[in-house]
Symmetry: none
Subunit: 415 residues, 2 copies
């Protein structure tokens, strides 16, 4: 089975937004064993959309559209697609009720054009939208399958998970099972190098590596008649990869280093607090991204000014005067300070120069110190990430969580 | 003139990377007044690439390819494209010299397969690559133009700027000017509704609306012989739109509500601090995303626990006991507390239930209160955003910055 992803939206063609939906859907389809041969983007133009849709159905068994499902007259995906399948529109009662209560809840007037969204082609499977107003639609006919999804990722993704994935799973006689091993802080070329012999001799399961931010990802995919059989094929390969990477593999599946650390802290009931300068709230935001973290994450201090560092964390004036705010000494006092004032077991800190201004020859943009306090011992680490402000901040957050993970796992963090 | 962007790369179809190249090129072409009607992605497969290329030339005057220009056998873009134009390959001397010195510079051996990159179709305009090994190529013929660019963004973008933009500018007799008006907290359907008569009668300039997070964007685009003339066409339309939306239009051009608020605070030297519960650092992170904010943003407190709320912000135990942490009373004391402890003019706060757990009938997931303190007066606002934890948190941040903007501009924030 092959699929084509067809994004509808002039805003993509104008370069106002990136088509991240295509990436998400491609990845999910790969896991299901469905080949994607084309991704296409077309504007809110009836003729060109129609042409793209017909072309897509010529090339693929399944077409997945995103966007053009909203209330405005530009939103024409449903109309064009219904025409292809020669279907009339009917009002979906459940979608209508959901739309009404959505507007009641946000306390806004439901303008007339919104009603358009709850009309669906007859014979559709309706995918109800719990995060927005436009329902999605699955249509089958002419030997083809069409999945229409709304454009906003926060509506599209949950809908795809709830409806489209089970829909495809039910259809296939084969199961594709993927196991993802996440390798912390080892580059892609080195990861590939360490697995080259396995990759070269792969048939079923297959092994693929790629890099995401600061981690490498190894995906093992097996095709089999049952999940059990697929897992039996995967097990020995995964074992061999674990043997080669050891503790560098920090988790399996869809997660990241932040979530992995947060889960471990919650499980082991280790309390933690953070004090941030250059990351300015991003470390706290990463902790609090995790539901249930409130049992162990007690507080965060964003101490942008020197005054705040002294007042909120007890950093000494002499330390700031002698070594400066961006120094291992300040990072250490920040980490210890937040641990003590919050009464938490662990305190972590960041201080650095995120740029674009503020750099000197001695302390350039990208220089960051992180601090880690636990049980009366404080450690610091110097980082140097050249790049944009955004990059410096994001990489520092990754480094902090990596540091915490290593400490929790007894892995040496270096100097 | 219309263009199609054709990305070549199986890694995009697998969802391993996002096609950000298409966004960059689309945006640049929009500025040049070249319409992009399609973006397509195809894998490293000769037949499908050939089909996609021929289809693209049927639909567009200009085709811009990215990727598939490297040294490996998978890199086939040049071969397929040369076939379309019926051209033979010749060695480009300058590209060859650059390739040799590139390998000398990085101190690596130049393997034989690299030479393939410096063969170009005869009659090409060669775009030399200062950031990698594969040169780009411009080819004209059969009434069509083809621009072939390498895949890595850090090679593609500088090449596009150095060669492709001047190439197109020389060709065009018209200038296209766009003005973007950003409308805060008015939905897309209402925005379109309010502009329907203008949109229906548009010719030059054209008006398009779309939604990005919680704002609506109105883009007015005029085609003219000069920038001045284009602006003269835009002015009365923009004026009319301002008349209808008034102060809801918070900015023009590429920005967002956070940046707009931060700039205003810096300009007017108004100091600010924040106290967060449910947003857990995201409000502070949004402030500190702005370079130079340290002159006015002094500190942030992430007070996840009740203890932290009392200790860091002076929230009263009785308030927490009587009304709970998620209440207007607590939001008010948090905002006042952070303003007073930081010595800042403004204090803002968030407290709410981000979910997925923690909701009750009385206080459901998505219920959030924000607080705003200034000059001895404290205001609060109740929000209710149904949705995922991520959505609740992100929307709350937007609401906070909107609230601040309204206060700074003297716009009523409601109750």
């Amino acid at each position: 089975m092959s699929a084509e992803i067809l994004a509808v939206g002039t805003e993509i063609l104008l370069g106002d937004i990136v088509n991240t939906n295509a990436q998400y859907i491609s990845k999910e389809l790969a896991k299901l064993g469905i080949d994607v041969y084309y991704q296409t983007v077309v504007g809110d133009n009836p003729k060109r959309l129609e042409r793209a849709l017909y072309e897509a159905f010529e090339r693929a068994d399944i077409v997945i559209t995103t966007g053009g499902m909203g209330p405005t007259r530009d939103d024409i995906t449903k109309e064009i697609c219904a025409k292809y399948f020669e279907k009339e529109f009917v009002l979906d009662e459940k979608a209508y009720e959901m739309l009404k209560s959505f507007f009641e809840k946000i306390n806004k007037e439901m303008t007339e054009n919104n009603i358009k969204q709850v009309y669906v082609p007859e014979g559709s499977i309706v995918m109800y939208n719990h995060n927005g107003t436009a329902p999605g639609i699955i249509l089958e006919g002419k030997g083809k399958t069409l999945i229409m999804l709304p454009g906003p990722p926060r509506e599209m993704k949950p809908m795809f998970e709830e409806y489209a994935i089970p829909f495809f799973k039910k259809k296939s006689e084969y199961t594709f099972v993927s196991r993802v091993l996440r390798v912390a802080r080892v580059g892609e070329s080195k990861t590939e190098y360490m697995l080259r012999d396995l990759i070269d001799s792969q048939t079923n399961p297959t092994i693929a590596t790629y890099v995401k931010n600061v981690e490498a990802i190894v995906r093992i995919t097996a095709k089999a008649k049952s999940e059990e059989e697929a897992n039996r094929l995967i097990d020995p390969v995964a074992e061999e990869i674990y043997r080669r990477f050891g503790k560098s593999i920090y988790a399996e599946g869809e997660t990241n280093i932040q979530n992995t650390v947060c889960k471990k802290l919650i499980e082991d009931n280790i309390t933690i607090a953070c004090a941030e300068s250059c990351t300015g709230g991003l470390v706290a935001a990463a902790f609090t991204d995790m539901p249930g973290i409130s049992s162990v994450f007690k507080e965060g201090a964003v101490t942008y000014s020197n005054e705040a560092k002294m007042k909120m964390l007890g950093v000494k004036k002499e330390t700031l005067d002698k070594y400066g705010a961006v120094s291992p000494e300040t990072a250490a006092e920040m980490a210890e300070g937040i641990a003590k004032t919050s009464g938490c077991e662990i305190g972590v800190s960041t201080t650095g120069i995120a740029g674009p201004g503020g750099g000197t020859e001695e302390k350039p943009v990208g220089l960051v110190y992180i601090g880690f306090y636990r049980n009366g011992v404080v450690k610091t680490k110097k980082l140097n990430y050249p790049g944009l402000r955004e990059t410096v901040r994001a990489r520092t957050v990754d480094a902090v969580f990596n540091f915490i993970r290593n400490e929790l796992e007894g892995i040496d963090n270096g100097d």
